[in-house]
């Protein structure tokens, strides 16, 4: 067995995530990578709500719910206190969804990274506010239906592109920034281990399909995640001290329509709209050196 595939489960079964939840798998894999010596500050959102019905918890590591916009700020306070109290060997981890990261928590994240705290920030990106019922976030991709970007006679889903948070964090000069996908667990675990071994602020952005929110059957969760990577709609890379390296290069890219057509949130898209999305994907792939 590959050494990345640790047996120990630090996220317990019996939580109340939907069947086939990508975000939950991301958390499970992340804890496998990081091990026991972590303190987690978790923003409001699906992961928080599905794992901590009082007085139970699925977390086998110390964990605190930190309000929606606040994971990075609370994590920075914990980290400062650990330092001040002279405790070593414990890594602070902030976890938030795309809303808690790209929107309401972006300022706190930016501040904590700029201050150089020694912590890992994990964004589990299910591309909308799922906990409140599938509203658009700035990380929702172009064209996607959500309850606040509905498809009607004059509006056709989200009319703005996905915000590129990893690039924003890389621009802060963070020593390690990476994207990951639940469909590539070894890649994901390796990246989290690298983040853990790096001193200073590190950022991992994990693409996490959400069956009810993206409108597909739960058994296809990994398939959808994989197709995002194989089509180039989601690119797996790491930026180490400013140098970008694509970690998974699809041998021959699949058309983005293969990815889009699996999901009900894109089912209204016309061929012309899909062609437009394909163009932006191609451009981005060229830019990042993916075939």
């Amino acid at each position: 067995m590959r050494e990345e595939l640790v047996e120990e489960e630090l996220f317990a079964p019996g939580h109340r995530a939907c069947a086939g939840c990508g975000a939950t798998l991301a958390v499970r894999l992340a804890l496998k990578a990081l091990g026991k010596n972590v303190i987690v500050a978790n923003a409001t959102g699906c992961v928080e709500v599905i794992s901590t019905p009082y007085p139970e918890t699925a977390w086998r590591v110390p964990w605190i719910h930190a309000a929606f916009e606040n994971a990075a700020a609370v994590a920075s306070g914990v980290e400062a206190a650990l330092k001040s109290l002279g405790r070593r060997g414990v890594k602070v981890v902030a976890i938030a969804g795309d809303g808690g990261t790209a929107d309401i928590g972006l300022q706190a994240l930016s501040g904590a990274v700029e201050r150089g705290h020694d912590f890992i920030y994990i964004c589990y990106d299910n591309e909308a506010y799922m906990n409140t019922g599938i509203q658009r976030s700035s990380a929702t991709p172009f064209g996607a239906w959500t309850t606040t970007t509905p498809v009607g006679r004059v509006k056709r889903g989200k009319d703005r592109p996905k915000k590129d948070v990893p690039a924003i964090i890389a621009a802060h000069g963070a020593p390690y920034v990476a994207t990951a996908s639940v469909a590539y667990p070894i890649d994901l675990i390796k990246k989290l281990r690298k983040a853990a071994a790096t001193e200073g602020p590190t950022y991992i952005h994990i693409h996490c399909p959400c069956p009810p929110g993206w409108r597909f059957d739960s058994d296809k969760m990994i398939e959808v995640a994989r197709l995002a990577v194989l089509s180039g709609a989601w690119i797996l890379y790491e930026i180490k001290n400013g140098r970008l390296n694509v970690t998974i290069k699809p041998p021959k890219r699949r058309p983005v329509s293969d990815y889009l057509k699996m999901q009900g949130r894109f089912k209204h898209l016309t061929d012309a709209e899909i062609a437009e999305i394909q163009r932006t994907v191609d451009e981005r792939c060229r830019h990042l050196g993916v075939g």
């Binding site: 079964p13 939580h15 918890t57 977390w59 398939e223």
Partner: protein, 87 residues
């Protein structure tokens, strides 16, 4: 914490299996493993969001208390060793 007696903070001191009860009660189908076909590649195990597969020498064992029947394991098994069956 024990030495620190004070008013209670909202603490759950119990990391627990089944924090939301027997979540398998939600499912409408369940995975069945054909160990003869299984190559022990562990794909099913690594992809289960519900931590409902453990690995024994013989292959994967499904935890039928917490498996929600999502079907990911069956879909991802390269050997087609898992089928989803009605309850």
């Amino acid at each position: 914490m024990k030495s620190w007696r004070g008013p209670p903070v909202p603490v759950a001191a119990r990391p627990s299996v089944g924090s939301s009860g027997r979540t398998s009660s939600w499912r409408i189908q369940k995975p069945v493993v054909n160990l003869k076909r299984c190559t022990r590649c562990r794909m099913c195990w690594i992809f289960c969001p519900d931590v409902a597969i453990s690995f024994t020498k013989r292959g994967p064992a499904i935890n039928h208390d917490y498996c929600k029947g999502c079907g990911i394991c069956a879909n991802e098994c390269p050997a087609k060793a898992i089928t989803m069956e009605a309850l």
